[in-house]
């Protein structure tokens, strides 16, 4: 085995289940075209709640993608994760034959911010309505933050190191970092990412206390970070799963390394303390650059956190200036999530998937619904911008106070 320092993590597969596409291809097409799919909430039992606009995943039929024996024991957030994992494994062409002799070489890591609210609500209603004998045994596992990791592991037969990051939004990047550490310690491949399903009655009610949640009912105006009209964020469901492999292991089985995960750092500055997040996010960016041995000037595009709260947007713009210096004025910044909403832990993984696709396609996707940026940032608005992209920086902050940054670089052999 190579020494830990030499064991680099490359992305070989991407699977997306997002409001703007239930496949990686449709997600990227909508993302690069700047399509906004934010819309009025239509989910049963949610229509009368004060959250009016969200990014719903529509046209997703779990029964088409996942065997019934897994469906009955899992929540929607796990359906998304399992479907995305399938897409990622197919994309990486990583099948059972590849690890049949070495099942301990493949691990699973997911991040989760809330677990299975819809499943939990149904079972708890049975508890109140009919009594404890009517609560199904699968309630014990389906609501749980770790459910997606466990089910992906069981279904795929992945017996390598497994983990779950139970955290706020930034946990999506922290899960990817955890996968890189797992690979440095000797695991060949990790199925990693996050998907969330926060659009069910109980789950929505839990979010109503977030003062940063947008309550506008106009899908075009509800989520406009970096503008004077910023009035909070719009939540979304869905997410992305990736196959991340040790570079030499990927090469030896003939897989295409689509991007290299170069560096990561995370900090914590406290819930809803957005002014303080300036220093925390800047420190995370510096840490990720240092981990990646990358100079600020090498960053070709930034995928911003873009919370849509004025103080948070200002803190993010200042953090970029603090950490990147003059380069912060020049580097293109984008936030495609303004077209889909923020899928909690799934959001930064979707951004990372978009960053890989952006580098492959030589184009920075735009920031839908955002015009008249009021910060000293070159935010890409309107339409996608062609650019030679070698290195990307993805940022994420969570409502509970986590900040994370990840640096990734184009794969050594871009696909033709």
């Amino acid at each position: 085995m190579r020494s830990p320092k030499e064991r680099r993590s490359v992305v070989t597969g991407i699977g997306v289940i997002a409001p703007n596409g239930v496949s990686t291809e449709s997600f990227w097409k909508a993302t690069v075209e700047g399509v906004s799919v934010l819309d009025r909430v239509t989910r049963d039992g949610c229509e009368h709640l004060p959250l009016k606009v969200a990014g719903e995943v529509r046209g997703f039929d779990p029964a088409e993608l996942i065997e019934e024996r897994y469906l009955v024991q899992t929540d929607r957030f796990t359906h998304f994760a399992m479907a995305a994992a399938n897409l990622a494994l197919d994309d990486a062409r990583l099948g059972r034959a590849d690890y049949a002799d070495s099942p301990f070489a493949v691990g699973v890591v997911t991040a989760a911010g809330s677990g299975g609210g819809e499943f939990g609500q149904r079972e708890l209603q049975r508890l109140w309505g009919q009594g404890s004998r009517y609560v199904g045994p699968y309630q014990s596992i389906a609501w749980f933050y770790a459910a997606s990791t466990g089910q992906i592991s069981i279904r795929g037969g992945f017996k390598g190191p497994c983990g779950v990051v139970a955290s706020d939004e930034a946990g999506g990047l922290d899960a990817l970092a955890h996968a890189c550490r797992t690979i440095r310690r000797g695991t060949d491949a990790v199925v990693v990412g996050a998907a969330e399903a926060p659009l069910a009655p109980y789950s929505v009610v839990c979010q109503l206390g977030y003062e940063d949640l947008s309550s506008l009912d106009d899908p075009v105006r509800a989520y406009r970070p970096f503008t004077r009209d910023a009035c909070g964020f719009v939540p979304a469901e869905g997410g992305a799963m990736l196959v991340v492999e040790e570079a030499a292991a990927a090469e030896s089985r003939g897989a295409t390394p689509r991007a290299v995960l170069l560096g990561h750092a995370a900090t914590f500055t406290g819930a809803s303390r957005w002014e303080e997040s300036r220093a925390g996010l800047a420190h995370a960016i510096r840490g990720a650059l240092s981990d990646a041995r990358c100079a600020p000037e090498e960053i070709d595009v930034v995928f911003a956190d873009a919370l849509g709260v004025p103080s948070a947007d200002r803190a993010e713009a200042l953090a970029l200036a603090d950490a990147l210096g003059r380069h912060a004025d020049r580097v293109p910044v984008t936030a495609p999530k303004t077209g889909t909403g923020r899928a909690y832990c799934g959001a930064p993984v979707l951004d990372l998937a978009a960053a890989v696709l952006a580098m492959e396609n030589g184009v920075v996707p735009p920031t839908p619904n955002v015009v008249d940026v009021c910060h000293d940032l070159d935010v890409v608005t309107g339409r996608a911008r062609p650019a030679e992209l070698r290195t990307a920086l993805v940022l994420s902050r969570g409502l509970m106070g986590s900040n994370a940054a990840m640096v990734l670089r184009q794969g050594p052999t871009p696909p033709s």
Binding site: E67, E68, R69, Y70, L71, V72, Q73, R133, Y134, G136, P137, Y138, S140, I141
Partner: protein, 96 residues
Amino acid sequence: MTAQLTLNELAALMKSAAGLTVDPKDLANRADMSFAEFGLDSLGLLGIVGELENRHGRPMPTDAERCKTPRDFLDLVNTNNDRANADKATVPTTGA
């Protein structure tokens, strides 16, 4: 009289409680194969026990959810049914 649990009913319960499609004939032919090989995990069997308890309004034998094979399960559950019916027939005169 409490009806005996049949292989058809067990197959239907495996479908509703655990999402497994099992042919009752297959269940009959391979009644000594483990539930795990049919794809039924311990929580799935627990769900089936719970459903039967709710249907019949009385508890199953304590080890019902520990049965390893369809035959063991049917034997235990149906023996329990026989006892319950016998108990109903002879009304006890004491609380013991």
